[in-house]
Symmetry: C3
Subunit: 253 residues, 3 copies
């Protein structure tokens, strides 16, 4: 069995190590894989985008523990979602929504049975006290119905919409990757476009690979997040062009 | 067997990979878990706090390799500490002291037998040459007494003391976590307090979860390090309030 | 079997997790070890230096996947290099050259057989689509000759040369490690030197361990990359002395 972890816990503290210790204490033979712990703090959308770009490359029946959880300790639910291929364990805050769009959801459980939790004297670390132990018990074969009660609806997170008209498409930057590439919310573009801008900077072209780009002037490319990205060749578009989340990408058709 | 790694080696170089290569070369079947490699460079106190917040969540008999080691290559000892539940391998510089307060220490060995070291032509990387191979040999069942000689005393690191008087408690910030929460040295507070400050900024309240806080005005919460933390809701207290290690937290009772 | 990963993918996105998912999907029983994913973006030399400082500590027959690949999607080759002890999978851009200097190369394959690739609808992530699956198939015992055709020559990367004359040695800084130590291209120095400078700052001495250094004035030490490093005791030489890659180190004999 494989448990894959995606969190905004970072790489400084012992938070991630603690999750792994908890999991290994409950199921010593499970294999633990890190997707990333570098999600920007509290950024549910970024967590959703990263999960969506990676989960489908994991083996069938992988259990994903996704903890981007600004509402920890409040009354937001903890959920387990079983799809045809995978199991997801996460807070009910929308972080699973993009991944679940591509999955056949079979069952959703609101996790409520403290028998599968760690006892704790503080209320700030449900990754340790709820999500990790629940995932570990699932990896040992615990029946999902024992974890809590079935529910039908979970919180959904929507990407900001792309505005399309006859002769233009207007999108925006929704996150940056490690290289400073600017991921937009635009999934599809016609094969030929007239002109394009990021803010008021002209975009040179739609490139097929990063080498076709220019190191000073931005280009667009269909990237591995499934969206068009604004990039500079071997350079950070974010830093060099002073971009930020929400900036406008305009395509003239 | 499980070996858990905690270092200040960072995520840029091959230092951590090298440790793992050394361990796997000696014991291919051992399971290696990262606690964190993001301890601030040379910061023994931070390493001690992170170890103390995470080690107890690991399975019994886990071997911890803790390398925050500014004195590498000098005459500071390398030690192995066996407790009732765990084994710790580290430089003798105090990095284990907080964790060991909670453990029944059974044996301390000053590691001196070069038979269990890697031969090296430089003197800057005892993680690779001493701590990793020693831990790997221990995971293979090597008798601890073969590693060196028994000792009774190791270096102790003390947290800065909390000053308590009849009507106030004065503590300080001892580290920051990834979210910018400011960990203090205060472990206990009475259920009701009158007023509190971080430096000269008023602290709003003692919160039960982060959502109860305010995104501009600081609150206190009992955090997962076992201490009270100054935090802002979904914001970095460190950055927004310009805090640094050593800053004063004052509680009026 | 062991697959070791070294990339410039960073720790923010799901890139590394995706590689691992792909590998585990093809070979669930293979052990995956991270060397580092913090190589500076697009920095082939840094990747080569980090690989060279760590690969030899891994068990025989480890498969190394090294992806620092600014040319992804262009016509640069993907290669597999089998040496007496190891197998390396990487883009043909020089990133393997320093490691291969120390190895007996037995076979080089230009990877071209799409049967061992993932099908993808974009062209920006050969780590996912080519390097990871190829490594996973190799770990399952696939004959290297099935992957593509034998070649004899791969791209070589040269370190900037050290200039040696009768009474001086002039080198330069080639990278920084996590601690801010400045790695030079100087491998050997005579046992006694007259004077030394980093830029126009006098270097105090050649130290045997970091504790012998000074926290304000730079010293030299033979470091774990196999080169002399300029360092400050428990301090970042990079930040405190304002150093950058290419800065001159001059030794008077």
């Amino acid at each position: 069995m494989l448990i894959a972890l995606l969190t905004d816990f970072g790489y400084k503290d012992g938070f991630v190590g603690t999750l792994k210790g908890v999991i290994k204490s409950i199921n010593p033979s499970v294999d633990i894989i890190d997707i990333s712990h570098g999600v920007s703090s509290f950024n549910i959308l970024e967590g959703a985008l990263i999960l969506n770009s990676s989960y489908r490359y994991f083996p069938k029946y992988t259990i994903f523990v996704v903890v981007v959880d600004p509402g920890v300790g409040s009354d937001r639910k903890a959920i387990v979602v079983k799809t045809k291929n995978y199991i997801f364990v996460a807070p009910d805050n929308g972080v699973l929504s993009l991944a679940l769009e591509g999955e056949d959801v079979e069952k959703i459980i609101s996790v409520e049975n403290p028998k599968f939790f760690l006892k704790a004297d503080n209320n700030t670390f449900h990754g340790r006290d709820i999500f990790a132990p629940v995932a570990a018990y699932i990896s040992r074969g615990v029946d999902l119905d024992l974890l809590g009660k079935k529910i039908n609806k979970i919180k959904k997170l929507e990407l900001p919409p792309v505005k399309e008209s006859e002769n233009q498409i207007v999108g925006q930057i929704i996150m940056f990757d490690k290289f400073g590439n600017a991921i937009t919310n635009i999934k599809k573009l016609p094969t030929s476009i007239k002109r394009a801008w990021i803010n008021d900077i002209r975009i040179e072209k739609i490139a097929k690979n990063f080498q076709e780009g220019n190191s000073e002037k931005p280009s667009l490319i269909k990237g591995s997040f499934g969206f068009y990205e604004v990039f500079l060749k071997e350079n950070s578009a974010k830093d060099k062009l002073n971009l930020k989340v929400g900036d406008t990408v305009k395509i003239e058709l």
